[in-house]
Symmetry: C2
Subunit: 344 residues, 2 copies
DNA sequence: TTAAATTGTGAAAACGCTTACATTTAAAAC
DNA sequence: GTTTTAAATGTAAGCGTTTTCACAATTTAA
């Protein structure tokens, strides 16, 4: 009820409580060696005077502010946002705060943001999303290596082998492979693959698609692999892309997509064209995001274990920060969640 | 290419460059009074030695870390996430970082989070979303008043009159009213209102619905105002709620909803029941989020100017931080975006 | 009892930077 | 060629904590 621009310091408290600042500091850090009575007295005075420790001074002394940097390309992406949310929550429960940084998709900018966070003295950085790893120009990933010299780096949905870097990801290759095989078993032969990112996991998923076709002796044609190059919020951009390949005469009886929003676009395409789903066209999405439930029919999707991975990521990070030896790689299996956009 | 746990300080630089630490500090803060040659020399040495200023020491001296706290209930909510993204980006462009804090929907927790941010010495706090204001228990809003004594508080999508609090919001009452009137003009008479939040803007929207009916001499029945009490990701929970009122015999020829995801649920309900949209049922959503485009038909929605408001919010905040006098209230008009879920 | 160990406390030196003030140096004015 | 003024730099005192080390007071052990 009392304080303004809180200028009350440890000195004021020490004076009022009749002890030295060292003792006050001790109760602040609940150091063991302080008489219960003194402690009580001091706590009381602090309360009364509305004392708020100065975080900067504290940081200067302790060399940590209990803050973790979270980087993500775009927090308005539902999927990434969910991860950020889960991570942030778990960290808070463990008394760490999060400094969020949305970097966009440009590598130069990612590097800059990471540097910035390090300069703000975060205790670690979490890179959320596979787009932090470049699969084409490997030197683009040097910024991670460099940063890892200063603080632990956590990767969600990507894998990068390097000292002080910890990767947690889903086995996207096999998850996609299973999804395709699921369709093959239902008799689908012309399976369209939709993707929108050449990120680390993007590449893995595509490999999974290819492997599945090969191993099932189905013809593999580049025509059936379509890159959707729109803004992720622009469903109609995706729909248009699909319509275009359709107009060109390409026919397909199933769609596997690297993201749920692509599956939604596929469904929208089907409804517009009057194609029956799942009878004439089966559709599978990826991420198992809430989006997959919003449509009618609902969309079968690969659950890539975001929730579990996020939790494990924080657990691993906490371990690392405590100086424990932790696994550098953690891989979870994806799970196909069957819904109405595929035949049961 | 060089540094490790950067222990190089301003002293090392000053020694190497043959100047005093004051001068080094001056180039760090690009103070004007320093000889260009000296500046160059120092910058060079800094570069060479891989100097990174210590943010804590800096903060202690300057009493600011150029960091803004952003609070939102749940960053995995597409709508809030978008706002967070826009704000974060605008702040970064102005050399401020953001400390993100997801509070959940409990008031006690909101208060705690805000205190925490203040203790971390943020320069201001932005509360994103109308759920930070309690319209029923007004004492629940004291935490804002209290916090405003320490730092400027920015409210997005809510309005709270108080010293050092700045509110930016959409005129939700009239926006909703217009939406309802739009339907009335098309001859709709039995308009269902769907809402899921009793937040500040939630209340305004509902008022708008009521006013519109009254002013158009349509009967106003509580049966037509349905509260949807599910988790926002649980579309099917909402669908079920609508189904229930339908099973009870309630009939309606239009739905106005306080959020796009409710409109999506309404559409899903209609498709399941075989009700034709927009012919037999017109649907209007709110927020004009990307979601509204994902369906077929696409959903008519009220654009509540999130983008404009976010931008204006940051502009206002920057003004406040520079000590300028800024308007405590900024209100934008909503815009109805017509799509296929209503007749043209 | 007395020596040794333990516990609680205080004094003062960091921590790495900013900045008011003092001082030197250079440029401008006369 | 002085004197005035301005520009560039240095000195040192903070900023609000933590923490080492020393010391006193209290137990415990012998």
């Amino acid at each position: 009820m009392a304080e303004k621009k809180s200028k009350i310091t440890i000195y004021d408290i020490s004076k009022e409580a009749g002890v030295s600042i060292a003792t006050v500091s001790r109760v602040l850090n609940d150091s063991n060696n302080v008489n219960p009575k003194t402690r009580e007295k001091i706590t009381e005075v602090m309360e009364k005077m509305g004392y708020k420790p100065n975080a900067f001074a504290r940081g200067l002394g302790l060399d940590t502010m209990k803050t973790i940097g979270i980087l993500c390309a775009d927090s308005s992406d539902t999927y990434l946002a969910k991860a950020v949310y889960l991570i942030e929550e778990a960290l808070r429960q463990n008394n760490y705060d999060s400094l969020l940084c949305c970097t966009g998709y440009d590598f130069q900018n990612k590097q800059k943001s990471l540097d910035l966070l390090i300069s703000k003295k975060v205790d670690a950085a979490i890179l959320v999303g596979s787009n932090f790893l470049d699969t084409t120009v490997s030197s683009n990933n040097n910024y991670i290596k460099e940063a890892a010299k200063s603080i632990p780096i956590m990767l969600l949905n990507a894998c990068f082998e390097c000292q002080n870097v910890y990767s947690l990801f889903c086995d996207d290759l096999n998850a996609t492979k299973s999804a395709v095989e699921f369709l093959v078993k239902k008799g689908r032969k012309k399976i369209l693959y939709l993707y929108s990112s050449k990120s680390y996991s993007g590449v893995k998923k595509l490999e999974g698609y290819k492997e599945a076709l090969k191993e099932n002796n189905l013809s593999l044609s580049d025509d059936y692999i379509v890159y959707c190059n729109s803004n992720r919020d622009d469903v109609n951009g995706f729909v248009k892309t699909i319509e275009e390949v359709y107009e060109k005469g390409l026919r397909f009886d199933a769609v596997v997509s690297s993201e749920d929003y692509l599956a939604i676009a596929a469904l929208k395409f089907a409804i517009k064209k009057g194609i029956s789903v799942p009878k004439d066209l089966s559709i599978i999405g990826y991420n198992n995001s809430p989006m997959a439930l919003m449509t009618q029919p609902e969309i079968t999707s690969v659950d890539n274990r975001l929730e579990a991975l996020s939790k494990q990521l924080v657990a691993t990070l906490l371990g690392v920060l405590e100086g424990k030896e932790m696994p550098a790689k953690t891989e979870y299996k994806g799970i196909l969640i069957e819904r109405d956009s595929t035949e049961s």
